[in-house]
Symmetry: C2
Subunit: 292 residues, 2 copies
């Protein structure tokens, strides 16, 4: 069993990105600059945004964090986005989700200049992804593709089951893995809440991407010998034995599934660390594009 | 066995559209106006474009056909598109594909105002489709969804195999049928040229969408009893016994497959006639949107 080590791989990636940045600076070019907008003070969102800003600093990026009050109006947020769209020094930016209920999330995502949309959430980037055109891939699927590619997991002609059809993971994964590209060319099935007899599907799968958000959902009896398993789930479960009071659980029952797996991602330390690294990679890409 | 009669259904649709147009006129509103650009004089393309223009006239639309010389420059075509984007009297327009080799097709499709892109080929419309947001669906997939819905073919929880991953049929069909929508909620597998053991997949399928462009590819031994089959293929085969010198063949071997099918589309008279009807429907939609 080979562990698909996202922590190590994201570390490698960050080193490569840092080297690219150092290279740019030595050539007199500007450092990539990522901005993030956070509305409100939700604990998890602050943790994520701060992790992104810290990661930026470590690879030599410039970073800007804009923290708006939780009761900011949609109009005020749109103005902020308009300013970031115009600022020439900023290469890419993200709006941390979820947004407060009084703000129309889709309207906000549509307002981001697609050329600066390093989260890959704007419909034009989603469309370009579906058409296999150059674009910003959403960070989590991009990270999974990178992980599969770097570990040289065979995908061409393989049977893949993606469990979950969310816009940010399940749908893009199912599209990417069936396209003609590295870690692609697979025969992909999308399973979801309406799927009947899921176990019959997963038992046939060479690769399973679990992205449904139910802790420990995929168990050893549901997979075949030699399967590759990518666990996208990350749920906080109460655990009084931990100092933090909780532990993180993936969608995969690691103990039983890993015994039958050829490759498997751990949680934590699998898909999670890749996500921030790919956001950095998209920002570097945005910056390089502007060089002309 | 029930024939999914695209000729009849598209006739019904056109009557409904014509009634909507008559209704608009009686309310003093403008008729929908579809424009088409054809570059060159390719026989098949001219046939298709003329059929679209004629269909417009029959439902009471205004129509404009712009026929440009085959050696028109990309710049000239972009200027033409820019004019159609600006013209307030035109609700939607299409650029007939394929384009001559010296013109960058993707660049042309990107230049069409997404609000007038009634073919649904602009990345922003493709992205909105993938995100299940209101958009112009590409006509052929839209027509298949309409046909399945009108014939009340059960799809929720069913196993669907889409053979083919093209941008205009296979990919959108696989996305639409797995989404939460009428004729959706299916468990969809996308098969393609790299797929191994396709027959094992099709034998399990409740619904098969054949869109690979190989005449007579899907045969009776590849499907199970009670399957629903949608045949998107349409290939001209030489046939000296016909006055035209050719006959049309789908991707499905109708004789053997229909014997085991609960529902099946014929070729011709299945998916084909639906395509033009859905283009009309998109144009009507574009026109209504502008009413505000």
């Amino acid at each position: 069993m080979i562990l698909l080590d996202g922590k190590k791989t994201s570390g490698d990636l960050k080193k490569e990105i840092a080297a690219s940045v150092a290279d740019r600076i030595s050539q007199g070019k500007k450092a990539p600059h990522l901005a993030a907008i956070l509305v409100g003070t939700d604990g998890a969102s602050m943790t994520y945004v701060n992790a992104k800003v810290k990661a930026c600093q470590r690879v030599g990026f410039d970073s800007t964090l804009i923290n708006m009050p939780a009761d900011s109006s949609e109009e005020k947020l749109l103005q902020e986005i308009d300013q970031l769209n115009r600022r020439k020094d900023i290469d890419g930016f993200i709006v941390q989700l979820p947004l407060p209920a009084h703000i129309d999330e889709q309207k906000i995502l549509m307002a981001v200049d697609p050329e600066k949309d390093v989260d890959g959430f704007h419909p034009v980037n989603v469309g370009k992804m579906a058409l296999n055109l150059p674009c910003f891939l959403p960070a989590t699927p991009f990270g999974i593709m990178e992980l599969l590619e770097r570990y040289q997991v065979p995908t061409s002609g393989k049977q893949v089951v993606v469990i979950g059809r969310s816009h940010i993971v399940g749908r893009p994964m199912s599209i990417l893995m069936s396209q003609q590209r590295p870690a692609g060319n697979a025969t992909v099935t999308v399973a979801h809440s309406r799927t009947q007899n899921l176990k019959a599907l997963t038992l046939q799968a060479d690769i399973i991407v679990a992205a449904l958000g139910i802790p420990g959902f995929l168990t050893g009896d549901m997979v075949k010998e030699g399967v590759t398993v990518v666990d996208v789930g990350i749920t906080r479960l109460e655990d009084p034995s931990k100092k933090s009071g909780y532990r993180l659980s993936g969608d995969v029952h690691f103990e039983s599934v890993s015994k039958k797996s050829s490759h498997i991602t751990p949680v934590p330390g699998g898909v999670g660390p890749m996500t921030i690294a790919m956001l950095m990679k998209n920002t570097l890409l945005a910056c390089k594009r502007k060089d002309g």
